[in-house]
């Protein structure tokens, strides 16, 4: 059904899930994508970044713009988010040694200088954690009301010998998440909606390139797909992986790691933890015989202590993600639009 509003872009298109992918396809892939040569990964793949052949290595490139309300939230801020976003996108492509980052900052007239200093300090610290230098940047100031506070764009580049796409799963492969789910989105949502429970919730925003590096080194070639489950949460990440890899995925809900605080808030608001954004986690698709060694390596890293197997790939219901709740089964849907607290 065509309505008047199809002529406008709504927030629904920016919140992860199918509507967002449709927008990316519309704006970028259709018309701009070129044929991908020689195993390269470009726009058409709609992966976390692009991979281009450079001699006997791959150059991985990613770019991301960051807007978040509020700019400072429990556990982090927009500066830490922007650096972690670029670093993690590179990492889940298999490129964990960051060559360089760029950073563009667009600021609304009237933005407090004090906040800007805090954000800059946070960018610097996060870059140090990730071993990622910022080599060029840009600033712009726009009039009051022309944007909401501050927007950051980061682009990252890195070299790697082996690219890990999000499409490499096959039947029997096992899915691991590197830690608890939903921490970032729930902390931000609680703060944004003024929920009285935000004291206990903290974002997981962090660069995880060293964690991913440890996992990759533990079992060379055995990690065949990776994704960082940001907007749209693990549900969207798994959908993309299942669809592109032509497998079905079955998740065991009892195994999905969620902190008690996030679980309580999610139940209160009627939001599925699998739909909530993470900013310091990865989903790994691993060959079955390497699962133990990868888990052990992850758990030995301070960021991977809660790493756990959540499910595996099956040869039925291709492209679908099924959740075994212990009580029954259901299809995992992708979030459609912004996550909203529910009444019923």
């Amino acid at each position: 059904m065509t309505t008047v509003l199809d002529e406008r872009i709504t927030l629904r298109c920016g919140a992860g899930g199918q509507a967002m992918r449709a927008l990316i396809r519309e704006v970028l892939t259709d018309g701009l994508a070129r044929e991908e040569m020689d195993g390269a990964i470009g726009l058409a793949s709609m992966d976390d970044g692009a991979a281009l052949r450079l001699g006997d290595q791959w150059l991985v490139v990613t770019t991301d713009s960051h807007v978040i309300q509020p700019a400072f939230f429990p556990g982090g801020d927009i500066g830490r988010l922007a650096v972690s976003g670029a670093v993690n996108d590179l990492a889940v492509m298999g490129a964990t040694h960051v060559l360089a980052l760029t950073c563009a900052v667009i600021i609304e007239e009237g933005f407090p200088r004090e906040d800007l200093v805090r954000i800059q300090r946070s960018i610097r610290q996060t870059c140090e954690e990730a071993g990622a230098p910022i080599v060029t940047g840009d600033t712009k100031v726009m009039g009051r009301g022309e944007l909401d506070g501050i927007v950051l764009n980061t682009t990252g580049i890195a070299l790697t010998d082996r690219v890990v796409p999000d499409s490499g799963l096959r039947v029997g492969d096992v899915l691991i998440v590197t830690g608890t789910l939903g921490d970032h989105g729930m902390a931000v949502m609680a703060r944004r909606h003024g929920l009285a429970l935000d004291g206990e919730l903290e974002s997981d925003v962090a660069p995880i390139n060293t964690l991913v590096r440890t996992a990759l080194a533990s079992a060379p070639g055995a990690i065949v797909a990776m994704k960082d489950p940001t907007r749209g949460g693990v549900a969207s990440a798994l959908h993309e992986m299942a669809e592109k890899s032509h497998v079905g995925i079955v998740i065991d809900e009892m195994a999905v790691p969620v902190t008690d605080q996030v679980r309580a808030a999610a139940e209160l608001l009627g939001i599925d933890p699998l739909h909530i954004a993470n900013e310091g986690k990865a989903v790994l698709g691993v060959r079955p015989d390497a699962v133990d060694v990868v888990l052990e390596a992850l758990r030995a890293h301070p960021q991977g202590r809660n790493a756990v197997v959540i499910g595996r790939c099956v040869g039925e219901r291709i492209g679908a993600v099924v959740l075994d709740t212990g009580f029954g089964r259901r299809l995992v849907t992708e979030p459609d639009g912004e996550l909203l607290p529910r009444i019923c």
Partner: protein, 391 residues
Amino acid sequence: MTSDNGGVAQLKFRDPARARSLADALERIVAEIGRSPVSIMHVCGSHEQAIARFGLRATLPRSLNVIMGPGCPVCITDVPEVDEGVVLARHGVRLATYGDMLKVPGTSLSLADAQAEGARIDVVYSVAHAIELARRIDEPLVFFATGFETTAVATAAAVLRDPPPNFFVLSAHKYIPPVMEIVAEMPETRVEGFLAAGHAATITGWGVFEPFVERHHIPVVVAGFEPLDILAGLVKLAELVRDRRATVENMFPRCVTKEGNVRAQEQLWRVFRPIGGRWRGIAHVPNGNLRLRDEFAHLDARKQFDIDLHTLWDFAPPGLAQECICGDIMAGIKSPHDCALFGKACVPHSPVGACMVSSEGTCKIWHQYGGHPDLAATAEERNGGRDYCAR
């Protein structure tokens, strides 16, 4: 803690082993009834959510038809009610409402559409939250109040507690008992039992269903919202159907009494009066809508603002809603495939009727699963058991 026990805090009412034995009992009792389908209806959004969330539908006997009744207060909020909110918001009045109201379609726009056009709509998670917001701002704030007894009681209490002068209520509150009468009286209705909402019954008491059961000889079971509550409620209901016993059974005694919360009932009826009105996709329900009494006219958005719905009619699409057969689907008479709109003009992100709005609405489920949900374990998984996650 989280991952030490596999990631899920084991709640008392979330024991999969007990769930399996209840599911087995249900299978047995439904088989003993010996008819197919046996149709029962739940009339509560929270039951819907729990059934969907825990995937219970996939474990129910195939011959047990658990129908989503008019139980999701968001889904049955009628088009003109949504329109009232949209018109107010488009005229610059600031609105506060529950998150799941945003996507519910009106004549031509949902509240989310109005928001995309620039209308100011705040998502709140309680009436208290809305009042707090009203106190912080110095312009009128209209609380678009939806929900059944449970949320209506909260609205009533807030109204009686002297809210700030810039706080107004646009009531789309609904009252459940009358609609059960409507469903029971639908010609050809196949509903043989009702699963009633535990939280609403904490207010009304389970005694409120006794006259209904006497009149219609259809059993009612009051149930809670954990998976075991729901399964136990279904088992009890199936037993009553099998034994042809029409009684009210309270399977949620840890919260529900026969009398209910008398003080809350007093507050509810002091603030609201029941009037007849349409429920989306169902019918005109006598005494089904709750409106503010005249005593509270100073808080009533309908009396304090000029809400002219004609402004929406210029570009209204043809009356799709009239072609919607949600009512028949809910009564168990028709299936989504009998509907000309299903999957074409009526899809999840642009729903026409209540059954496509709700995450557990029959049409939404059929659209998502391509028919009855069937997610039994694959042969491969059965052979491997469920131990792949036991590491």
